[in-house]
Symmetry: C2
Subunit: 150 residues, 2 copies
């Protein structure tokens, strides 16, 4: 049940010396309802549909607090604002630099790379915070050259 999840997250905030305010409750509810790939601005719009008094700044501060607890995380997918996700919804992002489309790929495809980077460089890639830029199938057929355009 979603509301259980909300209470659980609020409890986690409290346990870490934080407080369970109404804005935080509303923001968390909205976040759980929303699709993933949400910017702070989009999240704020959704939140303000029911609670216009909740300020953009508060949303920024709330997602930050939730990130510190490992409940959400954000990715910078090239240009534009950061995208926020629930932490249990971890996957890789393939971002098309021609059309901006984001394809999601399962972790599996990256297992070899992960082993390789860890073995060769001692570098542990973050499965969540990981975006691959390139060209999607559709743009590749439309633009045969495969040249970047931003």
């Amino acid at each position: 049940m979603a509301s259980d999840r909300v209470e659980q997250i609020l409890a986690s905030l409290r346990k870490n010396g934080g407080r369970a305010s109404t804005p935080r409750r509303v923001i968390i509810e909205t976040l759980l309802d929303a699709r993933h790939h949400l910017t702070v601005e989009e999240l704020t719009t959704d939140v303000q549909a029911g609670h216009p008094e909740i300020h953009l700044t508060t949303v920024y501060r709330t997602v930050e607090a939730l990130e510190a607890l490992g409940i959400v995380y954000h990715v910078h997918l090239g240009h534009g604002p950061a995208q926020w996700h629930l932490a249990d919804d971890a996957h890789q992002h393939l971002v098309c630099q021609s059309c901006g489309r984001v394809v999601e790929a399962p972790d599996g495809a990256f297992a070899e790379l992960r082993d390789r980077l860890e073995g060769d460089f001692g570098f542990l890639p973050d499965a969540r915070h990981f975006a691959v830029v390139g060209w999607c199938a559709e743009c590749r057929s439309r633009l045969p050259g495969g040249t970047p355009s931003r």
Copy 2:
């Protein structure tokens, strides 16, 4: 010889209907001299050491023009400003989200991943515009948990 390279790049600009101005010449020289991983701001500082009249805006516009010709490219490595590179200096970036260090990895490590993404998703990753976020060897030993901190 570096100055040959400068003339070659200016010729390329001219060939595409552009003009070879003094600011552009200076910016290109500075870019060729500099280490890679240069922000526009850093590049401007270097340029202005010899030519204080050259404006930040001009540097932005010049690197943009050079990118359109495929001579340089930029990457967003997580937070902060974009990093600019010469196109012939293509490599992958492993960005440590704890200390910000950028490790460079040869293309080789990514060959399998590239084949995999192309086969499974028709997605062609851009070898140049590609950053992997994670934790470097040193931070991993320092912070045993391996928890993000931004």
